[in-house]
Symmetry: C2
């Protein structure tokens, strides 16, 4: 069942992807969500800022789960990261280069003006890094290397989105994918004790 609250969050997410946080007005949200400002303030008494936090938390979890579902289908991390970047490039192109995710944009807009929003973005980024790190360790990448690798992965996703979206071309995203994959390939593996020892 789609509640009014859900409709507001989904519509706001779509608007933030296109216009960012400061570029989206409550009247736009009201219209797109088919909910009056009274309704918006009923569900989000904290106003636009509280709504923004809810959008970031929701979208952050969706993207973490997307990564984890791709990871679950690809035991080899090289395959998983290749697949993730390929999918991201396809989605970007099909959407006519609308940002796939509003979190990075909002993070940059409000990092110096809203602690609640900044901390929501921090939660999202940290959860992605932790998820990627966990997957890498379970795929026998050395734990000491996994953290840096996961951090670099999230950074390149963010950087790739900005470049590809601004240049309106998926080449940057695909060039970056090659290097992330190379870094994963080159990473030291966990050495397991064998039965023969």
């Amino acid at each position: 069942m789609v509640t009014t609250r859900d409709r507001i969050i989904v519509a706001t997410n779509e608007l933030f992807r296109r216009y960012g946080y400061n570029g989206t007005s409550l009247s736009q949200i009201s219209e797109a969500a088919e909910a009056t400002t009274g309704s918006i303030y009923h569900f989000f008494p904290g106003g636009k800022e509280a709504l923004g936090v809810a959008v970031i938390d929701t979208t952050g979890a969706v993207y973490r789960e997307l990564f984890e579902s791709i990871a679950a289908e690809h035991p080899d991390p090289v395959d998983a990261f290749e697949n993730f970047f390929d999918s991201a490039a396809d989605v970007l192109e099909e959407s006519d280069f609308v940002d796939p995710c509003p979190i990075g944009t909002i993070a940059r807009e409000v990092a110096n003006t809203s602690e609640p929003l900044r901390r929501a973005a921090e939660r999202a980024f940290s959860s992605w890094i932790a998820s990627a790190e966990n997957y890498l360790i379970n795929s026998d990448i050395d734990p000491d290397a996994a953290d840096d690798l996961a951090t670099m992965f999230v950074a390149t996703v963010e950087g790739g989105f900005v470049l590809s979206r601004t240049l309106r071309c998926t080449d940057p995203l695909r060039a970056i994918a090659l290097h992330v994959v190379a870094a994963v390939s080159a990473a030291p593996r966990t050495t397991h004790a064998t039965l023969a020892e």
Copy 2:
């Protein structure tokens, strides 16, 4: 001689770094630049958008020149990239995590609403990639590898800024630097014909 036009551009750049494009008002700019709105419109008849384009073009050139001056001092690309990321991390920390550069933020805010601003950001990114590629080729990196490497460099800078600024910690930037440096080290070199042949 510092002209009024210069003052407006510098002040706007500082405000955009902190609050983004949509988060900065003309009244803030007027106050920070010590110039009335009449003056702002005198120098930028196209209003806020035209001023934004001027800011992006100016800052884009400044950062390209910064990279080129670091490159000129370090013949070995590994040293150059290491130095660049180290400096960036230091600057970010010293400024209490204010964005060092407004271009990526503006690019994400307006990519779907202002073609003049989007194209200005595209010019800046492309000039950085071209500059890094040119330097890599002159440092005997294989030209086929140099383009992808330069693209990845710019993407990781952008991604590293978002992560480190949002997490208020330079670790991401430093983790990323390690991987960029590793990618440069692993890149194929140009094989030169020698006199002995």
